[in-house]
Amino acid sequence: MQTQNIPTEELQGIVGEEHVREAAAEDAVDGVEPSFVVEPGTVEETSEVMKLATREGLAVSPRGGGTKMGLGNPPREVDIILSTARMDGIIEHVPGDQIVRVQTGLRLRDLQENLAESDQMLGVDPPEEGATVGGIVAANSSGPRRLRYGTVRDLIIGIKVVLADGTVAKAGGKVVKNVAGYDLSKLFTGSLGTLGVIAEANFRLHPIRETARTVFVEVDDHEKIADVVQELTHSSLSQFVLDALEMRWEGGRGVIAALFEGIEPAVEAQSSAATEVLRSHGEMSVLGEDDGKAFWEHFARRPWEAGDVGLKIGAPPSELTAVLASVLGAAERTGARVSLSGHAGTGVTFAGLSGGEAGLVEVVEEVREIRLPRGGSVVVQEAPLTVKERLDVWGTGGDYLGLTRRVKEKFDPGYTMNPGRFLGGI
């Protein structure tokens, strides 16, 4: 969308000619086509680019691996994609302190490979391939192991950001225990690129566990799922023992899976105990480390394909049955096909819906009507553009929108960063 006269030469002057290219169709964000893709190589270059953007009144959308560009509402406008692809180095890794400092353009996969050489890992395991560290921070991505290690906000200990007006600022540090100043690392987690560009991030790490066992059980009644989950959660196998507790429901069948990681005698004992608990509920299986890896690669993926509507529903774990019922009920009424998965141990459920568009919109509205008065959220994480035009992707009954807007207007008064994508159209 060429609404502005963008000073291309100046941009090239900042990052180098070869790092400014005209945007192509695949660079569009929810159908909004930017003019340029800019790849700065340093924080200073990033700052200069942002200064220019602010001066010229341009809208900027930061991008890492581009795996979650569909999150949020369609942007009001995008002039520049600011790609972090060139800033992909590990700044410092101190195994003895269990911390790492990275540039945010580094792919998570590459980071984990690197850390594995010291038998360490970052405790975040989102299923999406190709995500960068910056991306997982901005999107607050998580995977099954969040039960054990928490989410990004529990692991991030320092941050360096570039604001819309080019100001470079850091918060936190490289020590795990730190209460000096405000915790901006947390503020920026999940901010979806609307507060500034996340240039560097520091994390606390964990040792890679020696081995693993996976125990899973099949059930044919969705109401049984919650029972199994509750039983496991309140046994001695709960948090800090269980590494993951996930569920899937597809085609009338449900599977609940638990992951135990640790030393051989420990995981053996735990999987035996879990077997005892689960045995009465249905057909059970136990997998070793390697089979388990393959299992989880499949099991942890989101239950939707491109073109589907994908929902993320947050609710208290004890209400899992109600959540499932609301989705299944609504889907049945409208004839939509539905698959479900979720972090059953922490109360996050994913629903993948496919079918006629009108029906899908109805499902979302109905589920929101049922769930939102009870607290929690129903967010559309994936949807075709036509559906997004009919719905606000953010579904929450919260009372903090005003505060959210005030925060945004302090950090980005000109609405330079990803305008329109966030909560409340911010």
Binding site: N140, G181, K186, P316, P317
Partner: protein, 484 residues
């Protein structure tokens, strides 16, 4: 509104028993756990409900009166230091546990609830609340929230911020918001709760707090190991953590601390240059295995004595000796100044050496007790207030220790917060830009700067104008409005 009217207004909201306005009584609130700074508040109010808190804050907002929130008043950085001509809002009477939700592992409490009460409440069900600062028998959840308190178990279990799931907050303008998902995870929007925890009471007052509770671990084992000096003990710490073990707790005490504790409490600690207390918890098989490793590492580092707690009493005794360390200092010195610095664990040895050098240089003893696992040090600078000049020397020495921590890649504070006490050191750790950007957050919550002003940041930032290049408002950019 003059003082008389303010008193009347507050008495109307709270009743006479909720308003303290007589001089001597106000004086008892002039400092919190840190006695170095004292300011007599203009008025002290003690609300009993969230609604009353809201009304008080609204009144302050309307009248432009600054206010400071206070829990049990045990903070060590002056975070609850009153503002002159301001109101001190004491939350000790909001002390109900509102809801216990075992199926979701959550408890909802009022801010005046004492930390340890939470664990007490859920102990029968086999649960507990993990963050355990040494002050936990008296510090309040609200205070823990403000400071993001840690404790001896935070290496493995995290800090308050990892265990707070939601909060009802009265903002400085008197409005109420609910941040964090509460019992539901992943609330959409910004991590407002994450930013609020640890904000030292400068962004608002939490009136209901949702906490996460954990199941009590299956097995707990504690040992005490004596070493020739802190260096050897530090080697053991590295060996333990290097072996891929994350102990539930790993604490170190030096010779001076051991001496004081023995004198005051007599837990029967061995005479040594340094003592390590290591605790492992979790599933039995795991704990067993890890414990063997820990013992091996201690032996490899020439531990002169290794004592495994035989039973719960002995374990309790080890911890009593550690947790009473600050108080016990009174027995070997008339005054002390406790610091709270963090260094990367790999730098512990070097920093301890630096502290020892500084201690010699200044001629003041420094006792060291600290969370060896996460590098959070509590050097206790011992001095005699009555000896001329010693108090100033002690403060200077404490400052030097802080600089040493920063020099080695650490932080100004691991648990106690910046408050008033460490404000002057902030520029050593953060640039002006860093602090200005942090204060943007404050401007969003508290544009009139009435909520605990004068804490954390040495140079307050004006919230109105942001210096810098002109930027167009999106409405204007869309051609729908003119600039005026």
């Amino acid at each position: 509104m003059d003082r008389e009217q303010l008193i009347e207004t507050m008495q109307e909201i709270l009743g006479p028993e909720g308003v303290i306005h007589k001089h001597e009584e106000l004086r008892t609130y002039e400092c919190d756990g840190l006695m170095n700074y004292r300011v007599i508040p203009d008025l002290v109010v003690l609300p009993e409900s969230a609604e009353q808190v809201q009304q008080i804050v609204k009144t302050c907002y309307d009248e432009g009166i600054p206010f400071v929130a206070r829990g049990s008043g045990t903070g060590l950085s002056g975070g609850a230091l009153p503002i002159e001509s301001g109101v001190l809002i004491v939350l000790t009477r909001l002390r109900r546990i509102l809801e216990v939700d075992i199926p979701n592992g959550r408890v909802v409490v009022e801010p005046g609830v004492i930390n340890v009460w939470v664990s007490q409440e859920v102990a029968d069900e086999g649960y507990y609340y993990a963050p355990d600062p040494a002050s936990q028998i008296v510090s309040s959840i609200g205070g823990n929230l403000a400071e993001n308190s840690g404790g001896v178990h935070c290496l493995k279990y995290g800090f308050t911020t990892n265990h707070v799931m939601g909060a009802e907050v009265v903002l400085p303008d008197g409005s109420v918001v609910h941040i964090g998902g509460g019992k539901a995870p992943d609330a959409p929007g910004y991590e407002l709760l994450g930013a609020f925890v640890g904000s030292e009471g400068t962004l608002g007052i939490a009136t209901k707090i949702t906490l996460r509770i954990l199941r009590q671990p299956e097995d707990v084992r504690t040992l005490l190991a004596a070493f020739k000096d802190t260096e050897e003990a530090g080697g053991a710490v590295s060996g333990i953590i290097g072996g891929g073990i994350v102990p539930a707790a790993i604490e170190m005490m030096d010779a001076l601390t051991i001496e004081a504790v023995e004198k005051q409490i007599s837990p029967g600690f061995p005479e040594a240059g340094a003592i390590l207390i290591v605790e492992l918890d979790g599933p039995e098989a795991e704990v067993e295995h890890q414990f063997e490793h820990v013992i091996r590492v201690c032996e490899e580092n020439d531990a002169s004595e290794i004592r495994v707690a035989e039973d719960d009493e002995e374990r309790a005794l080890f911890w009593k000796g550690r947790k009473a360390a600050f108080g016990a200092m009174g027995s070997i010195s008339s005054d002390y100044y406790v610091q709270d610095g963090v260094v990367p664990r790999t730098e512990l040895g070097a920093v301890l050496k630096k502290i020892s050098d500084l201690s010699e240089e200044y001629g003041l003893r420094v006792a060291n007790v600290f969370h060896a696992g996460d590098g959070n040090l509590h050097p206790l600078v011992l001095y005699d207030n009555d000896a001329p000049g010693e108090a100033e020397k002690a403060e200077e020495l404490a400052g030097e220790i802080v600089f040493a921590c920063l020099e080695h890649g650490g932080s100004l504070t691991g648990e106690h917060g910046i408050g008033r006490d460490k404000m002057k050191y902030m520029p050593q750790m953060f640039t002006t830009d860093d602090m200005d950007v942090m204060q943007l957050l404050r401007c969003a919550f508290d544009p009139h700067r009435i909520c605990n002003p004068g804490k954390i940041f040495p140079t307050p930032r004006l919230c109105g104008e942001r210096p810098g290049p002109f930027h167009m408002h999106p409405v204007q950019k869309a051609g729908l409005a003119e600039n005026f």
